[in-house]
Symmetry: C2
Subunit: 124 residues, 2 copies
Amino acid sequence: MSSIKQVAALLQTIGQESRLQILLAIGEGETCVCHLEAMLGLRQATLSQHLMALREAGLLEARRQGRFIHYRLNDPRLLAILRQAADVQGVPLPELSPSPDCNCPNCSKEKGPGNNSSRCEVRS
Amino acid sequence: MSSIKQVAALLQTIGQESRLQILLAIGEGETCVCHLEAMLGLRQATLSQHLMALREAGLLEARRQGRFIHYRLNDPRLLAILRQAADVQGVPLPELSPSPDCNCPNCSKEKGPGNNSSRCEVRS
DNA sequence: ATAATATATTCATTATGGCGAATATGTCAT
DNA sequence: ATGACATATTCGCCATAATGAATATATTAT
């Protein structure tokens, strides 16, 4: 595949609202799918499809941890591209760090009463 | 429109082989449509449509010079994005400078015999 | 005014991609 | 083994975008 085709493929893969949100939400860290689902308000199947596309494009890596699967960026330079693009458009790039206070219903650590499971936590 | 939407729109607009070729061919300079047509082997109508899309996305500026229309990038940072993307993909970004030896049939300066018109030149 | 040329625009067709619904797979708890 | 849960996969539908053909517009030359 010509190099131009490859560049086009990359840009096309990330040139979509949901995918951008996913990438920004993952950021430099590692994020499990349930976080993303809660954060972005995407349906599970839809989200999974996008994750698959990003995986197949070589942009994401998946790591299984029990029932949970954690995704991380394969290359932090991807974020640089997004910043550049936002720069050209003259808009601020929202910071979507999911880890701090994710309201994923499965991950309510130190949240509302009666909920205690440490699911969605990385447990070695 | 949300900033993410805008970034997505930008990436989507340039995430296509023909558009990338156009942007690379124009580069830092200014290029007339006939050059592009010859260089990229795109049909005139197709090319014009892509140029329109890029114009509407605010990425290109057009300047009329007699019958000829010259396009230039509105923001050189676009090229930086392309370089970054190529970088992430680990491929070289081809340099497509059209000006030096464009083989556009209308612009054959110091080319084959019997052809002399300086068409496609910027004549003030 | 007419013809020739450079580029743009319109329209119909086709391909591509995202989405929703349904289902499958893999892991843990019992 | 069974059930519950997290995630993945498949499939059909629809919207969007790219393509091709035809035509229009603008500019220069005659």
